[in-house]
Symmetry: C2
DNA sequence: CAGAGCCATGACACTTCATGTCATCACTAT
DNA sequence: ATAGTGATGACATGAAGTGTCATGGCTCTG
């Protein structure tokens, strides 16, 4: 035995996503996935550490790519400047080569299953750790590095969610910038600035016309 | 059979924490935990949905308590004002009745096991969802509510981590305020200019507070 | 071309997690 | 007392995940 199968991983991922969307994550057994891919159960666990990982393969490299992008950025950039300039390019690289349709199908499967949502949280946590280390390597103090990393990941996560909600209409860089602007607006004017009136805040919101979700 | 056991849940939690710290989460089997507590395996899963939950029982009520605290706060408070004023009291209520020693032991067990760290992320995610709904109920727009919820939870999480790192020395309210101040400093001044004057801060804020689409 | 070695896979056994189901015992209310 | 309620024990079962070895194709080398 042991005949080699072309694209075994890819076929397992495809079969798993199809089945998860069709009958749900819990209702889908690993033997069902491997049967559809023409493989055995044992082979599934050679490619993926557990059943959830089949939807998260290929993202192990994201933290290290994030670290590389940060190391390549101009050292003069402060944390928030780096986030403002680097988030969109980083997102572009992360999603490079994946169709919007695939991303929507994948998200639908993840949203439907708490265990997969949890795994998704871990992905963002790993991104945050990479970012935190990247900021520290740029000379940022520990607390600020941690905060900046969380700000970056949170902005990224919310922007991607909004972008997918809108089926990709305002493109991802634009959605990221809108989200980042709203984040800055909230933290700068959202209750800590006695000098701005409510009218001023309304003015900011009206300028974009894109800040309301539903 | 079926003799009632006083404090079955508590004894299971205690036995599990002891065993997790002693031999690790993976190496500890559910029968080991139940044997130490004088119960059967089946009873364990009647009290906890899965093996991890034994360290997270009693936190199911946190989201609803967060929602209550938000509803009780003065409606005039903006999102950031509410966070600044409400985070410390909320933390006090959440940790009410738990000793620092217990919190440290529990964190040690969680930090040692990826599966438990993941469960911890879900806890914060649930808190964030409750906060988001709370902000919406106060009339905040969807995007701002989501962002404010994430800011609040992130600040809380980082502050608690720092507080435990320091074995509770600066007390939790003080640590929360420090963390919140660092967060504000980062988002307002970019985290790279600690020497800006108040006037410079206002100028910078106005310059970067604009929303740009592309 | 032949043999050696590598690597992915198949096959099988095994442990642990988790759940469904029913019987049993204690406590409680009438 | 008797019935009801609720927690537990006991048993069976399925699915997840791992260890181990055999097998067959592939490449590298002489």
């Amino acid at each position: 035995m042991g005949r080699w199968q072309p694209g075994a991983r890819e076929r397992l991922e495809q079969a798993a996503l199809d089945l998860f969307l069709d009958q749900g994550f819990t209702e889908t057994t690993v033997p069902q996935i491997t049967a559809r891919a023409g493989l055995t159960t044992r082979t599934f666990f050679r490619h993926f550490a557990d059943k959830r990982e089949v939807l998260f393969a290929g993202e192990e490299s994201v933290p290290e790519r994030v670290a590389r992008l940060m190391a390549e950025a101009p050292p003069s950039l402060g944390p928030m400047e780096l986030i403002a300039e680097g988030l969109a390019p980083a997102a572009a690289e992360i999603f490079e080569g994946r169709s919007l349709d695939y991303l929507l199908r994948r998200r639908a499967a993840i949203d439907a299953e708490p265990a997969l949502r949890e795994r998704e949280l871990r992905k963002f946590s790993l991104m945050s750790e990479a970012l935190e280390q990247g900021f520290r390597d740029r000379g940022v103090d520990d607390l600020t590095a941690r905060l900046a990393a969380e700000i970056a990941v949170t902005t990224f996560r919310i922007a991607v969610a909004r972008w997918l909600d809108q089926h990709g209409d305002p493109d991802l860089p634009a959605t990221i910038n809108q989200t980042l602007a709203a984040m800055r607006h909230l933290t700068s004017h959202g209750g800590c600035s006695p000098f701005l009136t409510t009218h001023d805040e309304d003015h900011h919101r009206r300028d974009t016309g894109q800040l309301h979700d539903g």
